[in-house]
């Protein structure tokens, strides 16, 4: 029994490893695509220096921490692979039928592949973003004892982001074009995910709404935890992430089971 589970886990680990290896082949390309990250970080380094100067803070973060916060939020967002596009296309053109016959869970297969690609992108983008932030604003004072918890928060954030996108991609079972939903999601991430500023800086009503939605747990919360570690914040974040991972997993599984019944295989 235990051996079967180990073997299953190893299977998905191998899928993630292959996905990582595929991305590592294009490492130089990943670094080149980080130019936009440098551009946006440069603009915001100037903005936060002007707005916050030497003593000012927003949501308890000074100019240095604000830039490092943005390094982590931006890196989280731009490192998230477009797995949902592959899934949407497979559902629409029927290629999903080939995957359904294979000896793995369709959802876990894509989650493993998603994690492998995310890791390659995350490391390269973080290296570029951190180097830039270090040169422009100086080092980030990190509470190293809490970084294990922060890593757990990042891992759960990856799962939240994956499940949000994957569940929307599965709408392709019912809708001809699900692209507007991704567009809306990206805009909601911008606002309720706290891409530029921590949601703690928002007016009370918006802040509370952000705490209720999953978007903050995939972007703002782990970034905020890394730049300003606090155990109370950590507890709230982990509880929120676990609730959303569970809820979104159930929704995604239910959608997949219901949607896959609509697949008609015509051969050819």
């Amino acid at each position: 029994m235990l051996s079967a589970r180990t073997s299953t886990l190893r299977k998905y680990f191998c899928i993630g490893e292959i996905s990582l290896a595929n991305r590592l082949v294009y490492l130089a390309d990943h670094f080149a695509s980080s130019l936009f990250l440098i551009l946006i970080l440069f603009i915001f380094s100037q903005l936060w220096k002007t707005v916050l100067g030497t003593g000012g803070t927003i949501a308890g973060l000074d100019s240095t921490r604000m830039l490092w916060y943005m390094v982590f939020t931006e890196v989280m967002v731009i490192s998230t692979p477009a797995t949902h596009r592959l899934v949407s296309d497979e559902v629409k053109n029927g290629d999903i039928a080939y995957k359904l016959t294979r000896p793995y869970s369709y959802i876990l297969y894509y989650f493993a592949a998603h994690c492998g690609e995310f890791l390659a992108r995350f490391v390269t983008n973080l290296a570029v973003g951190s180097a830039f932030a270090y040169l422009v604003m100086g080092p980030l004072t990190v509470y190293w004892a809490g970084m294990g918890w922060a890593a757990l928060g990042l891992a759960l954030a990856v799962a939240v982001n994956f499940l949000e996108n994957f569940s929307l991609a599965l709408l392709a079972f019912w809708l001809e074009d699900n692209r507007p939903f991704f567009w809306i999601l990206s805009k909601l991430v911008f606002i309720f995910g706290g891409l530029f500023v921590p949601v703690e800086a928002y007016p009370e009503g918006l802040r509370q709404l952000s705490y209720l939605l999953p978007l903050r747990y995939g972007v703002s919360a782990p970034a905020r935890l890394i730049v300003s570690f606090d155990y109370g914040f950590l507890r709230q974040m982990l509880v929120g992430q676990l609730i959303w991972v569970t809820a979104l997993s159930l929704v995604t599984t239910a959608m997949f089971r219901k949607g896959v019944r609509r697949v008609h295989v015509h051969g050819g």
Partner: protein, 265 residues
């Protein structure tokens, strides 16, 4: 000379009309793209709204100035993407040898490439620019006409920059990525107030990446009109357009046909 200019204008207007008719063929998609772009730009203002709940002014820039900045930058990009969208994708046309189509026709090559494409969603940028201007300024007919003229001038600046960036493909081969990133940089800088940038950065923003003339100077003209600013804006717009034309035709001498048979859709 006058007849030639009239003929060219007629040619441009016919292309604009065709592009518009083509976009409106699918009316639902046309309207939804405009609405989505309008909402997209509106959401970008959310950040500034949050920021200005914390501060009163940003080196002399108020929220109203930021709104005008967004109106000017969106208007300039809207003009570029609606009327001269060829400037957003010229690299691939050059690198893949698809200029042959334009070279074989008795029309100005550069102008033809520029007007032959149009982005439907950019009508949403134009609508957004107009709406934000009407909300943030106390508009009169004169100021409204001035705003439209400034957006057009900003659009020429962005188009010219796009032509220069994409013309690098004549020398570099496939330079699409570089050109796209340069254009992204211009648009990004246009959306942030110059007050936040250091003196050295501002020099770059008024020369190499001319965001200053795409949005900062238009905002200055709209808020504190002065003839020198208007004069500089006109001079730069004409100058950069001529420079873009010069670079494109200089590069065109290096162009090699790919003997590619394509359908221009």
């Amino acid at each position: 000379m006058f007849t030639a200019a009239k003929r060219t204008l007629k040619f441009v207007l016919q292309y604009v009309s065709l592009n518009l008719q083509s976009a409106m063929e699918y009316r639902g998609a046309f309207l939804s793209q405009i609405i989505f772009m309008f909402l997209n730009n509106t959401m970008l203002l959310f950040f500034w709204w949050v920021l200005f709940t914390k501060i009163d002014s940003l080196n002399g820039w108020s929220l109203r100035h930021i709104l005008l900045l967004y109106a000017a930058a969106s208007g300039a990009f809207g003009f570029q993407a609606v009327f001269f969208a060829g400037s957003l994708s010229m690299s691939s046309i050059i690198a893949e040898g698809r200029l042959d189509f334009y070279l074989a026709l008795p029309k100005p090559v550069l102008l033809h490439v520029l007007i032959s494409r149009s982005f439907t969603s950019a009508w949403g940028d134009l609508a957004f620019a107009l709406a934000v201007f009407l909300l943030s300024a106390a508009p009169t007919w004169e100021s409204l006409l001035g705003f439209i003229a400034l957006c057009f001038a900003g659009g020429i600046v962005m188009t010219s920059f796009g032509v220069i960036a994409h013309s690098l493909s004549f020398w570099l081969g496939y330079g699409e990525r570089l050109a796209d990133e340069l254009q992204e940089a211009l648009l990004s800088f246009s959306l942030y107030p110059e007050g936040i940038f250091s003196a050295a950065t501002r020099i770059v923003l008024y020369t190499l990446i001319p965001a200053g003339f795409a949005s900062y100077v238009p905002v200055k003209i709209l808020t504190r009109f002065s003839w020198p600013h208007l004069g500089i804006m006109i001079l730069f717009t004409v100058g950069v357009a001529l420079l873009a034309r010069f670079i494109f035709y200089r590069g065109l001498r290096r162009y090699e046909s790919g003997n590619l048979v394509v359908t221009n859709s």
